[in-house]
Symmetry: D2
Subunit: 334 residues, 4 copies
């Protein structure tokens, strides 16, 4: 995830990478040296040459914005520390996602949650701020659900995910575990999807009350999470109306023409066998989710459809960066 951040930030029009922080173990080496295996191929050489610094507000240097790809078990206090000391922190970790004073944002879905920042500063007495983005599966799911919620209301959502190995980081999943295999378990993932979906689709003050049930599975693909979604809406919706709602969807990031915002947050494919992980994962440079097979189902009295998204970009670093762009354009940070 750290690598995806640095790839996306390398030529960003508004942001410049000033420092890369890491755990003690890597201090004193430059970033490029610490990359194992896959790393570095797509990262700017200027960034590879940066010396790694401590994740410490005192020593990190002339920095305004902190993007955090820290593991959840250490992210909590470090991120708070930066927020307290005046930095704008955008976090991929799960540590603060359910904190009622931390906006959990998927920018096209709940841009209005930025208003929580003011309350956050007041309650937490922070000079900076902290914004979380959702877990990858949730980011992809909620983007596809938002236009349906707006038009028809949502009563029940059942989702079965087929997630790629890049979602588990590096080295992450052993090849011996996943080749020719499906692992029907990803620790904590189902709970995250169920909780975070309601926070994102709710108001700033109140989570939504959608009955969400998730079953999460790891499949042998490299990048891209595909999800089978079964939806019961409050008012009746047909497939054509749902498709129209998805196709025409766009919100603040598109209106503000933010640099990382895709022109179309949702692409709907009409072929009977799309979206497919390998073919559609990079739509909108990874920021667009692709849906397809939107169909009515008697047994559900609702719709079922497929949604695919890039778990590293829309489901992670890209979402975080778009959040930062949004806050900057709303002058909530500088």
């Amino acid at each position: 995830m750290g690598q995806t951040f640095l790839r996306l930030l390398a030529h960003h029009p508004w942001f410049q990478v000033a420092a890369v922080a890491a755990s003690d173990r890597s201090l004193g080496r430059n970033y490029g040296e610490t990359l194992s295996g896959q790393g570095g191929n797509q990262i700017d050489s200027r960034i590879l040459d940066l010396d790694l610094v401590e994740p410490n507000p005192k020593t990190v240097g002339d920095v305004d914005i902190v993007f955090s790809a820290l593991p959840a078990d250490v992210a909590g206090p470090i991120e708070e520390n930066f927020a307290r000391e005046g930095f704008a922190v955008f976090s991929n970790a799960s540590s603060h996602r359910m904190d009622p004073n931390v906006p959990l944002m998927n920018p096209e879905v709940n841009a209005e949650h930025t208003k929580l920042i003011e309350q956050q500063r007041r309650v937490k007495k922070w000079d900076g701020c902290l914004v979380a983005n959702p877990n990858c599966t949730t980011a992809i799911l909620t983007l596809s659900l938002k236009p349906l919620q707006d038009k028809f209301g949502l009563e029940r959502v059942i989702v079965s995910s087929m997630q790629s190995v890049s979602g588990a980081g590096y080295p992450g999943v052993s090849s011996l575990d996943i080749m020719q295999n499906v692992i029907p378990f990803i620790k904590g993932e189902e709970e995250k999807v169920q909780r975070e979906t309601n926070k994102i689709l709710g108001t700033m003050d109140q989570p939504a009350r959608i009955a969400v049930s998730a079953s999460c599975h790891r499949v042998p693909t490299i990048n891209g999470h595909l999800e089978a979604v079964f939806v019961k809406s409050e008012s009746r919706m047909g497939p054509d109306e749902a498709i129209d709602a998805m196709r025409n969807f766009g919100s603040a990031p598109q209106e503000l023409k933010l640099p990382t915002a895709p022109d179309h947050p949702i692409i709907v494919r009409q072929e009977e066998d799309r979206p497919q992980t390998r073919l559609d994962v990079d739509q909108g440079r990874g920021m667009t989710v692709t849906t397809g097979r939107v169909r009515y189902d008697d047994a559900l009295d609702g719709l079922k459809y497929i949604v695919l998204g890039n778990n590293l970009v829309r489901g992670g670093a890209g979402c975080s960066i778009l959040n930062a762009e949004l806050l900057l354009s709303e002058k909530l940070i500088r």
Copy 2:
């Protein structure tokens, strides 16, 4: 599928392979010569040496039972022809599955449907008979559902499948289509699961009225279909009761100790990350399905669980052979 039949029949205690029939194209060659690629490795050499014959009741020789792995587009009339001429036909094709006079049987689930045979002979005026087995995904699903239906009644079943490439036959799925990919579509599969599940779980005369919704997906595994199942039962069931019901399940094939019947039709794993396709696909020589992650879900007001089965054995040839054993032991055929 034909190869799986021949592998399972090679050393069967009751049956002996007397002839292998195939399409015109292959006539006059022996079976082994027609096997491309993968074939033959596990098939008895005596069978490989058999000359291929026409699928014609007149010329097939001294045969009592016909196992059909014909493609659905040609199976219909050929299978009927054999049944009319006095052969006991056990078919994997979808052609006759929904015919109200043809039992659609997953032996542990609806052994009592064998009684349809008498009616079939009367109505169709056949000297022989025709028994169908379900599509692979349905065979695996219904076996796991049966103990729950018996104890708690079933109201709604939602299933999301992750199916291996062997389900599509040979050459079947191109490597370019499935490597690093999920294809969220298998032609006709969802309709089959929805229809066949109710026929199998119904009475001989009347399909069940369970709301079944399926979403079927191809993933890059070789053998084994894994399914995420979400169930709402009629009376309330907890995970422990469901697990007990599955664990203790067995029926006619076990009581009769039929040669192909597994000791335990359902194995329930307690580990948080099982069943897994590669690790569990061959349980009970492919005749056992393995479930796991049986858990209660508020959003469903029901249970969700994972079931895995061998699509070629329980989901195909093994199921067909077990049907033949059942009819033979009930003296419905000889």
Copy 3:
């Protein structure tokens, strides 16, 4: 391969796709409709809308250059027909590669073979011309060998290839054949590598006399052929000299700044574990080959190294297009 041609030609600065020809079966439909599975995603929509025409010089319309991705079993007479009728034909098929009057060209390696065109026209009495490009494995191999041949002379080359499934076309290799497998055989491939390498590395009139031995294997990768090469040179070469020769290599296509020519035909990696198929296949938009692990070996009294190339681009369509650019810039065609 046809798709790779159309992807590369979609925005070519010199060429415009005027017609797409195909076998009878597809006539009357537009190109996009005939693409199965994977196709079309990266191809310009203007091209997808073209009606397919017959591969016939009379009816193909206002066309100067013909790129042929026909299968070898039909390519021969069709390509000759076009060449006779005045078209410049650039062929990927193996049909004419060993014809002494047809240049077999890997542009950076043997640009001077273009002089054969004059002789070809005289002998064959063709108004047009025909240029072949080598088989994919050979194209990648010979590009890496050329700087060594120039500096040190080549006595013996042993090559063991690990080839991806895209080299076999679509649908090509069945997933059941290649998942979790290595297939140590690709029909005709070893003979092609052995023959074509000497033709390309020879003079216009005379093949080289290098002892070439190939063993070709299919591995489960999507795109990119990786080759282990063992070389005995005529004069002694050390790894550093070999690396220098590769690094500094460039020839006519680079000097002429042809649109498809990569800045660096050969990139040499210094890491101990590179090149790797997935990481390096798209270097130079697929036109650059990447070498690595150049090391001396006592047992060979020579060097061994790894070379990786994009089998669809350098090993096929890109090579063909670069040949056309070369002939055009030399005014051998117009």
Copy 4:
């Protein structure tokens, strides 16, 4: 590798697993609890219940034979310690393989090296003994070479390996590193193949003097190492003679009918596309290597062929156990 030992020993007619030793970290837990991921499925439950003990001759209990799957960085002193204290140690580690007083044995290839044991005890003043088995790639290679060496003499051997991920242990290779990829580097492997081949194919006192050159590559397969071999022999050999020599090969383990010895150490396939990793890896319960495509090559003035073996069994635990059986049957240990 430890797991493969325990799977093979679970029902061994001569040996019984009395203790499982492991690093400090796991002490006090039973073996089954320490198995991550894949483990345990095929291991006897009695063994899974054993408490892990220290790898210490004093505390290991009533044990005669020690099979060591320790990592090379710790194996050295621990194994020596056991040998000194009177245990018969059979080691998979590379630590002592090149020690001139330690037999490096692939039982069918150099059974006569057991005579080194006497010298070992004298020189090292050990009450027990230590026998090493070769690295996996070498075990497979040397078994296929031995009949050729016996009949024709060997001058030069070039080998290019395509090795599966199980060779790297667990968790071993990250899925992100190997999916859709070939990694042309395995640390230390080429040197091991080159050295160990000559020790095994030499006499007890003197390594052979074959020029061996290896290039080793990791491909995305689970189990089975496939090797392309190019051989120049001392006296001329044709493919048919080589095939005959391989087919008829057998030695002490077969004559003594040792329990782990396969009936046929080498199977030669005649199909043009065999052996294949997935199809042939379990021949002879993993103890047989399969060769194919034995063909003459002008450029080599020799033969090339393919050999495939099970890297965990023939290339590891099975080889070690067969060594123990051999020493026991020769009464060198008890």
